[in-house]
């Protein structure tokens, strides 16, 4: 930690200012301000590519307690993180613990953020900030640590966020003969690991790669940041593979992309769903699953074509949480079956997908 506490400000686009103390890398930045209600899992959350371009507010006040894990790799992927680096642009918290303790804690959150050049602010009334975002909806914001350096707001949803986070060239993770194409829109490591654990070969391709010509037993369209409508090429390719009837699974952004490919529409939620406790009802049953989520956009279920059904519905606000084709092996969830961080109640969806593979 810096010896001398340095003041830092979060300024929202409506002019509201929150003043706290800087930690991490002392640099001004901007982004879309969103809140996450998960009570654990900051290393996984911050490296989730879906947070690209966002200033992340943690509603749980005590952060940093167990430090940041080691950089051990498994299958070439970082074992304890969801991607190679931190993707959120800044972190806003209430109470920071620089002194951490955990058997797997190798560095403090502050040191890690410094290394990754990510600024943070602690000492913020994060509940007040969350209530504000809840009432006014997600807002643009900027972090000002160095008052002399000018910084403007930036609408990150207009950027090619997916292009920034996805893999640049196809990568093959070889296992069994059965293989799936993972369309990387900003995939979390644990989606790849989940299939490798199931002995499935994964070919990870960039989001704009034309995967419609590749031979595979199935297609998985991953999660990722921003507005699904920005992923024009992915939508187009998805439409093609669905014509062939290749089994296709969508996760989060992938679900929205599949919906768009099928002809439905998507829209921006007021402040999104980000946390580990979202209840999702499976339609036609009394089953309700607790899910891990991170999305700002959603499928408009009223626009779904005839041969598609709503599969899951959020039990809190009734928004769409999954879609399924009535005849073909196409299905998608708005939530994250791979959890990490979050409950693994819905990992069975990956097994469903396996059974559907050609």
């Amino acid at each position: 930690m810096n010896n001398k506490p340095q003041k830092a400000k979060l300024i929202l686009e409506d002019g509201t200012e929150f003043v706290g103390t800087a930690f991490g890398y002392p640099i001004n930045t901007n982004g879309e301000v969103v809140f996450n209600t998960g009570m654990v899992g900051y290393p996984e959350t911050m490296t989730d590519p879906s947070y690209r371009g966002q200033i992340l507010v943690m509603t749980f006040p005590l952060i940093g307690n167990y430090g940041v894990p080691n950089y051990e790799r498994e299958n070439g992927l970082l074992k304890y993180f969801e991607s190679e680096k931190i993707h959120c642009r800044a972190l806003i918290i209430s109470n920071y613990s620089d002194e951490y303790s955990h058997w797997n804690g190798k560095r403090s959150l502050d040191d890690w953020m410094k290394e990754q050049k990510i600024p943070g602010i602690y000492g913020i009334d994060t509940r007040m900030l969350t209530r504000k975002l809840r009432e006014s909806g997600t807002m643009l914001g900027k972090i000002v640590i160095d008052e002399k350096e000018k910084i403007d707001f930036e609408d990150v949803n207009k950027l090619d966020l997916v292009g920034e986070v996805c893999v640049k060239e196809p990568i093959e993770y070889t296992r069994n003969k059965k293989k799936i194409i993972l369309v990387d829109c900003g995939t979390k490591n644990n989606i790849i690991q989940a299939f490798l654990r199931r002995n499935i070969t994964v070919i990870r391709v960039p989001y704009d790669y034309d995967f419609s010509k590749e031979k595979a037993n199935g297609i998985l369209i991953s999660n990722g940041p921003g507005d699904p409508k920005m992923c024009k090429a992915t939508i187009e390719n998805t439409r093609k593979v669905m014509k062939f009837g290749t089994p296709t699974l969508g996760v989060c952004l992938g679900s929205q992309i599949m919906a768009l490919a099928a002809g439905a529409d998507t829209y921006k939620l007021k402040y999104g769903h980000r946390g580990h406790n979202q209840p999702c009802n499976e339609t036609g049953s009394k089953r309700c699953y607790i899910t891990s989520q991170n999305h700002g956009y959603a499928v408009n279920s009223e626009t779904m074509p005839e041969d598609w059904r709503e599969w899951f519905i959020n039990d809190n606000d009734g928004t769409n949480e999954g879609i399924i084709h009535i005849a073909k092996p196409f299905f998608a969830t708005q939530f994250h079956p791979e959890a990490s961080p979050g409950p693994d109640d819905t990992e069975f969806i990956f097994d469903m997908f396996l059974r559907a593979l050609k």
């Binding site: 009570m39 955990h102 509940r127 209530r131 809840r134 089953r287 039990d315 693994d344």
Partner: protein, 1062 residues
């Protein structure tokens, strides 16, 4: 929706009297269960002899039976009421055990009673270690390894299979006697050899010493939806009972993968077991890897679930009831948010810390060391947005005179020992260690407490250091804010800055350092919630709620349950709040005890889960600006705040706080009594031993001594000689002008009488006079109380009533009050007067069916209510309130009654006559009707003679009589045969201890006499052995006589519900 098979009439088993390990949390869970049934239009029948509970109040269950929770009585009630279903999960271990018994005996099947929720097979799987172990391992999960050994060789084999180090546990040993960890074969051999000299079997268990102890609360519906409501981390690692551990929610030092792994494991196991409703699962987690062991599952509502419910705001007991009825989780509404579903896992944006409250100094000879057996009698929970804040708040909430983590006048000499062998004071030893410069690593080594918690504790010490030597008006805004965010109170700050609490308050307000109010909404503000569940924190800028409502009244709660103050005061508070609601006031409750009904989401209009301190009450008063504060319902804590709050300009409702001082100040009160020409035992405040001796000589022994403030465990005591007086005063530390002792004449063979009453502007409105079964000398909280009195002279009753009227007038009482009297030969003396509701208010209200608290509340609010008919105080049945002791739990403690209260709870039953009510009450506290033999050692010659008739009765009932030599001789002289057993210390057979061990005796009547040490030690050994062997023990002559009388008179105890007595 439940389409078919919805129950119509449900029997609920309560948990009976409060005792260590089973306390107020079951009033909370039972009350919620009843509400949940009511909402579904289901008739509820409740059996619970705990008369002070809310659940046994009018307007809760459709029918209430104040009866023992024992299979035979439950069956009688089943036969009479014909319920179609039964709920077993809401009355703690007591209800569960009785439920299993009813099931196994086929009684439930015989009467077509269905068990709702978790099936009995699943309950049994969680209760039986062997079945449980198999259930866990058959789905590939890990349980702590445990093996039994019957000799040293078996022990070695077991240990080698498990792998050293292992925990050696001695089956059925006293207080974990001889248990411990051994690191190698040699150590094991030595320990095992010693163990086998006094036991036949030992347990060799995998050592989990120092592992983290983690708990989850899990709910599951019959559609297999299964979710976790709350995770909790014990700050004290494995080795200390979770009831005696400091616990934080949610977990703090687990990574996401560990957290969700334990969650998945829990869900997997709960589904496998088939729990429907609520349960708790405990894990040990290796601090050096993500390895784990499942410790146990409680397939019922528990202390932890009450805590989890209050910590998250999720109404666990209510939801569990709905699930037991057959609802799916996503069919039940989230009552807190009223917006979202009950099928979700609460997200907290604060932390909740539970701190246990111990009262070990109240017991003789008890060890203060903490271990695998629970010793605490209550708990508090604090809410805040940093660990430092919740820790310091929680310590203050305990109300044990500690200012917080730091700032206490405690010094430990052997610090390392205090740290490594935890007692109830370890947290303060950690504070001292940090101040003395112990490294975090060293403290961690000694305590095994995860370093993160220690770092946070160190922050408090660092802030204290920054504050040292700074004058109040020199404390900067930033430093003041830092101190407040780290949980420092105005008292602590004043202590450091040499200023008064009030000066600190004014200064910090002047520089704008005030706390903000935040809501507990279960979902971290993600959705707007109409919640009224609030706390204060300094980690924030914005209040969640708007102030300025009119017509608000604050009721101060009773804080942590402790010996002398428990659920009865919660009953008073809840009734006050409900009465205010009826009068259309907006109610604000302040309390910090997670075991209570007063802190339930639907009791008051606003609940502040906060400290009952001058500072915090004033903080809330400043913000809410209510019409007034009621301080007379929550027992001694609010009562003690009355004068201070009044002087700070707070409007106190009811009797003026100036009068409270008149009643509590010994000198003032004595003068008032003199003026009224009301008698009182002679007393004097003395500052030297000579004076004390002189006074004792004047009034003649015995005398009652009480130190003006309690130090080094010295408490009230009766002394009978100069020698004893001297010895006592030495123990009570230096007697001096600053610390005088009060000595009063102790009147022997006298009766104690209590008046519970309500007055309006000094006029007595209603009253209840009850008498103690025991003679004076037993604390009123430990006494057996009878209403209406059965043996008190009419003249005495008249006198008591007149004095009560006079005192009400003199002290201009408006509201509840209680006076204790001592009576002998129609002479009545006043012992003390409390201008607040007393412990017996629920008892007298329910026996007379006149709600004294509702009346008191109305009168305090200036309502006019019609006079009660005089005949209302005259009933044709009898109520008997009996104490519940927890001596079994407190290994080594001497189970004897005295002037210091020792009971942890109480029951009360109604009967057509004194004997019936008495017997029901005693059976409710765990007494059984003796079938085999009675062991008699009946004290002095006088006592022996006094008990002669009853001894004959026992003999006539066909019971075998064993007696000590003296008693036996005496009996023989009076023609009663008995078999002589030798004293324990004689170590000669036939010995009392052996007979107790072998289960040959099922009642011990041991009336102690104050004689030489040898005999006292013998008496102690008999009593202790009886308690340890779960043999009924009676140590008071009047109780013994009444017990035998009741046994001889009563053939059959009737199962009559409360409303059948009229």
């Amino acid at each position: 929706m439940i389409k078919r098979g919805k129950p119509k009439k449900v029997l609920i088993l309560g948990s009976g009297a409060l005792q260590i390990g089973q306390a107020g949390e079951f009033d909370y869970s039972g009350s919620q269960a009843i509400k949940a049934l009511k909402e579904d239009g289901i008739t509820s029948i409740l059996i619970n002899p705990n008369i002070a509970t809310i659940q046994t109040s009018e307007n809760f269950a459709d029918k209430v039976y104040f009866m023992p929770i024992k299979a035979e009585f439950v069956e009688k009630i089943i036969e009479k009421e014909e319920p179609d279903s039964i709920l077993l999960q809401f009355g703690g271990q007591t209800a569960l055990n009785v439920g299993v018994e009813l099931y196994e005996k086929g009684i439930l099947k015989k009467h077509n009673v269905k068990v709702l929720g978790t099936p009995v097979e699943a309950i049994e799987a969680t209760e039986d270690r062997l079945i449980f172990g198999n259930k866990v391992t058959e789905i590939g999960l890990k349980v702590a390894l445990s093996k039994t050994a019957n000799n040293v060789d078996e022990a070695i084999a077991a240990a080698e299979e498990i792998g050293f180090p292992v925990m050696v546990r001695i089956a059925y040993a006293l207080g974990g006697l001889g248990s411990g960890i051994v690191n190698n074969k040699d150590e094991l051999i030595e320990k095992a050899r010693r163990a086998f000299t006094f036991t036949n079997q030992i347990l060799i268990e995998e050592s989990l010493y120092g592992w983290k102890e983690i708990e989850y609360e899990i709910v599951r519906d019959r559609f297999n939806n299964c979710i976790t409501i709350c995770s909790m981390e014990n700050i004290d690692p494995m080795g200390i009972h979770t009831g005696d551990s400091i616990v934080i929610a949610p977990v703090q030092t687990l990574s996401a993968s560990e957290n969700f792994k334990l969650r998945s494991i829990g869900i997997k196991l709960i589904r496998h077991l088939g729990v429907i409703g609520e349960c708790n699962i405990q894990y040990a987690l290796d601090p050096k890897s993500d390895d784990y062991r499942i410790i146990e599952v409680n397939a019922r509502l528990s202390r932890s679930s009450a805590l989890a419910s209050k910590a998250t705001g999720y109404p666990l007991a209510f939801i569990a009831t709905k699930l037991a009825l057959g609802y799916a989780l996503n069919e039940v509404e989230n009552i807190i948010t009223q917006e979202t579903s009950a099928c979700f896992e609460p997200a907290l944006d604060y932390v909740a810390l539970k701190f246990p409250r111990w009262d070990l100094q109240k017991f003789r000879q008890v060890s203060t060391q903490l271990g695998s057996e629970m010793k605490s009698v209550g708990e508090v929970m604090s809410l805040g947005r940093s660990f430092e804040e919740v820790l310091q708040k929680a310590i203050r909430m305990l109300d044990i005179g500690m200012k917080g983590f730091v700032g206490n006048n405690l010094v430990f000499n052997d610090l390392d020992n205090e740290l490594s062998k935890p007692t109830d004071k370890r947290i303060y030893a950690i504070a001292q260690a940090l101040k003395e410069g112990y490294s975090i690593d060293k403290i961690h080594e000694l305590t095994k407490i995860t370093r993160w918690f220690l770092y946070k504790m160190k922050n408090i010490v660092l802030t204290e250091n920054k504050l040292k030597g700074i004058k109040l008006n020199k404390i900067s805004v930033d430093l003041m804010r830092e101190a407040k965010m780290n949980g420092f109170s105005d008292v602590q700050l004043g202590h450091l800055a040499g200023a008064t609490e009030f000066e600190v308050r004014n200064y910090r307000k002047s520089i704008g350092v005030v706390p903000v109010v935040k809501q507990i909404d279960t979902l971290a503000a993600e959705y707007p919630a109409q919640t009224n569940y609030l706390y204060l924190t300094y980690h924030g800028k914005e209040n969640d709620i708007q102030f300025g409502q009119s017509n608000q009244i604050i009721v101060l709660g009773s804080g942590a349950y402790r010996i002398g103050s428990s659920v009865e005061f919660d009953w008073c508070c809840v009734n006050a709040v409900m009465s205010l609601n009826k009068l259309e006031y907006k109610t604000i409750m302040i309390n910090c005890n997670p075991e209570t009904v007063s802190t339930d989401y639907d009791i008051c209009d606003k609940l502040y889960f906060e400290q009952l301190t001058f500072e915090r009450v004033l903080d809330i008063y400043d913000k809410e600006n209510p019409e007034g504060v009621i301080i007379s319902m929550g027992g001694q804590i609010p009562n003690n705040l009355a004068v201070k709050l009044y002087n700070a300009g707070v409007k106190i409702l009811g009797t003026s706080p100036e009068q409270i001082d008149n009643a509590e100040n010994r000198h003032k009160f004595s003068q008032i009594l003199d003026r009224l020409e009301v008698d009182q035992p002679e007393w004097k405040e003395l500052t030297s031993l000579d004076e004390a001796k002189k006074f004792a000589k004047k009034v003649s022994y015995p005398v009652l001594i009480r130190p003006s403030y309690v130090l080094s465990g010295a408490a009230m005591s009766i002394v009978i000689s100069d020698d004893e007086l001297e010895e006592y005063l030495k123990k009570a530390s230096e007697i001096s002008r600053e610390h005088p002792v009060v000595i009063s004449k102790f009147i022997t063979d006298a009766r104690e009488i209590e008046a519970d009453a309500v007055a309006e502007d000094g006029n007595l409105y209603c009253y209840a006079i009850s008498e103690h079964v025991e003679n004076a000398g037993v604390h009123s909280g430990d006494a057996t109380i009878v209403l209406p009195p059965q043996r008190t002279y009419l003249e005495t009753m008249r006198r008591v009533k007149i004095i009560t009227k006079q005192i009400a007038k003199e002290l201009k009482i408006t509201g509840p009050f209680n006076i204790q009297f001592i009576a002998k030969d129609n002479e009545v003396k006043v012992i003390e007067c409390n201008l607040r509701a007393s412990r017996s208010f629920p008892f007298v209200s329910k026996v007379l069916k006149i709600n004294f608290i509702e009346i008191a509340t109305k009168l305090m609010m200036g309502e006019k209510i019609p006079k009660l008919d005089k005949s209302s105080f005259d009933v044709d049945y009898v109520g008997v309130k009996a104490p519940q002791f927890s001596f079994t739990r407190l290994k080594g403690s001497d189970p004897i009654l005295g002037v210091e209260m020792a009971s942890t709870g109480e029951v009360a039953c109604l009967g057509d006559d004194f004997n019936e009510a008495f017997l029901k009450s005693f059976l409710s506290t765990g007494y059984r009707i003796p079938k085999k033999a009675v062991m008699l050692s009946t004290g002095t010659a006088k006592d022996k003679a006094d008990f002669l008739n009853e001894t004959k009765k026992l003999y006539d009932m066909g019971l075998k009589l064993y007696a000590t030599n003296g008693t036996s001789k005496f009996l023989k002289e009076h023609g009663i045969e008995s078999e002589v057993l030798n004293w324990p210390l004689e170590k000669v057979e036939p010995n009392i201890i052996t007979y107790l061990n072998e289960g040959k005796i099922d009642l011990v009547i041991n009336i102690p006499k104050n004689e030489e040490k040898y005999e006292l030690d013998n008496d102690y050994l008999i009593r202790r052995k009886a308690v340890d062997m779960n043999v009924n023990l009676i140590t008071n002559i009047q109780v013994a006589k009444r017990f035998v009388k009741s046994l001889s008179k009563i053939q059959d105890l009737s199962a009559k519900s409360w409303d059948e007595y009229n």
